[in-house]
């Protein structure tokens, strides 16, 4: 049983790494299930059993974390940032961002305006520790 869990965990980690790396691409459950060598039906359940949240939720948090950095550290329009991090509609982006962060993207950015919002930490730490909590 343990070896089976170990094998499943390794395959699930590969899908999570894929989301970390390719968050801006159109990733869906069938594509991630292929990375995991499992069926789309099993994939979401297995991912949740491994990491405690659905792959959809994880990907949203990863994308929102990237958007938060771009909002803090660049002056690029919200619409561009929305597409850059992998959302394909501004409505979905704004709704998801607000649900996860607790305020709209523009308000989040405004809190850092004229302020020094830059995080000067290694990339791996930024990814792991600035991702908004589930």
């Amino acid at each position: 049983m343990s070896r089976a869990i170990e094998d499943r965990n390794r395959r699930m980690l590969r899908t999570r790494d894929t989301m970390d790396r390719a968050f801006a691409e159109p990733l869906d459950v069938p594509a991630l299930a292929r990375v995991a060598h499992t069926s789309p039906g099993h994939f979401s359940r297995q991912f949740r059993a491994t990491f405690g949240e659905t792959p959809h939720r994880y990907l949203q948090r990863r994308r929102v974390e990237r958007a938060m950095e771009l909002l803090r550290e660049t002056d690029r329009p919200v619409t561009e940032i929305c597409f850059d991090v992998g959302f394909n509609s501004l409505g979905t982006f704004s709704r998801t961002f607000r649900r996860i962060v607790g305020e709209p993207p523009s308000a989040y950015r405004a809190r850092f305006a004229g302020d020094d919002g830059a995080l000067r930490v290694p990339a791996c730490w930024a990814m792991a520790w600035t991702r908004p909590a589930g």
Partner: protein
Amino acid sequence: MPKRISHTFIHVLDQDEALDFYVGKLGMVVHTDADLGVMRFLTVNFPDQPDVELVLMVPGPPAHDEDTAAEIRELMAKGAAGGGLIFATDDCRGTYERLRALGVEFTQEPTERFYGTDCALRDPFGNPLRFTQPPDGPIVVPSAEELRERSGA
């Protein structure tokens, strides 16, 4: 007082597969490969750094009971075992291209940061690794203004 790090330990699931990766792909060399009767003591080092050994340990009896070993393996497999290594390189992008062609699993492409260029990967067992190439000059922590300019705003 302790003076320096001489050995650092990382769990692997198979020592031969670990050698294939750390020696065969990353270019380390075997420092010690000794059958101690109760265990295989296996360490590797970089040719330029013979006095820092990386000990490649397999979790399992008798050091760990089988259930504990299973838990360690499961955590390693999902990238949550806690170990990890950062390697210094002179050529992050070149190393990335060469190892990617060998099938190494990268989790982040080479990215320019204020502290240099780095990328992230996993060893075959799920341990997180990074290759970091320091900048040519001293590391300068950028101001927020400089970060905005750099990002092409």
